[in-house]
Symmetry: C2
Subunit: 110 residues, 2 copies
DNA sequence: TATTAAGATTACTTTTCGTAACTAATGTAT
DNA sequence: ATACATTAGTTACGAAAAGTAATCTTAATA
C-alpha cells in the first residue's frame, strides 16, 4: 500500500506531533524549566507535560533534577535532539522568506 | 505571554499539521494525482482532500487540471513548496541516523 | 504548619479523524 | 438516448484525540 521508508515515516510523524517543533525550538536556545516553557509557548501545562514525556521516551529530551530549594528541574536536548537543529533552522529560513505579514495578520478570519 | 516569532510559529504550525510532511515528501518526487497519493500514503481521501486544500490555500501546492478522458488532475509544488525541500531532506538524514530499527519494530507496543 | 515550585491528575468541552456511502463531470458502449 | 465507467472528490456521522482550567501531590524550608 504505502511506499514510505519506515524510519522517515516515523520521524515525520514524531516531528509532526503538535507543538513538538516549538518545544525543540525552545530547547535549542538552552536548558529550560517547565514553567519557562509554559510561559513562552501557547500551550497548556497538560500538553507540555505530555509532549515532554513523549520526547523523553524518544531520547530527544533529557530531564535533569537539581535537589535545591525548591527543587529545580531542567529540560535539555540530548545529542539526538540537538541533531534536529538543521531542521529547525531550515524552517526558520523558510518562514522568513515565504510567510508574509498579511498571512499572519489574517489568522482569525474565514 | 509567548516570545515566538509569528512567522516561525505559523510555519511550524503549518508543517506540524498531520500528514503535511508526508504529502510534501510525495510531491517533491514530482507531480502526483489524487489517487496516487491516496495509494501511497496511509491516509483517507477525506483527509488528503482537506490537506491539499490547505496547502493550495497556503500557496504551497498547485492544482492542474487536464481535460482528458478521464479527467486528470495533477498536484505539484509551487516555488514556495519546493523551497521546503531542505527541511524534508534534513528530516530524512536525521531519521537515517537516529531512528533505530527497534523503535520501528516496537510500533504496536505499550 | 503555611508556603512554594514542579508537574500530575481530574473532569469536562471542543476538534479532528476515519470509514463508507454519495455526488459530479465526462466519455464510452448499446 | 440511456446506462455504465472512471477520476476526483464530498458528506454525514460516530469515535477518538486534543484542548482547558482547576485541583491534587510531593518535598523542602521558613
Amino acid at each position: 500500500m504505502n511506499q514510505l521508508c519506515p524510519r522517515f515515516e516515523k520521524a515525520m510523524v514524531l516531528l509532526s506531533t503538535r507543538w513538538v517543533g516549538l518545544i525543540l525550538f525552545e530547547l535549542l536556545k538552552g536548558a529550560k524549566r517547565f514553567s519557562e516553557m509554559e510561559a513562552d509557548l501557547p500551550i497548556s501545562g497538560r500538553l507540555l507535560s505530555d509532549r515532554l514525556k513523549l520526547l523523553e521516551k524518544e531520547g530527544i529530551v533529557e530531564r535533569n533534577i537539581y535537589s535545591e530549594f525548591p527543587v529545580r528541574i531542567e529540560y535539555t536536548l540530548s545529542e539526538k535532539g540537538k541533531a534536529l537543529e538543521p531542521v529547525i533552522k531550515d524552517i526558520q529560513r523558510w518562514a522568513e522568506e515565504y510567510i508574509s505579514a498579511e498571512e499572519i495578520a489574517s489568522k482569525e478570519e474565514e
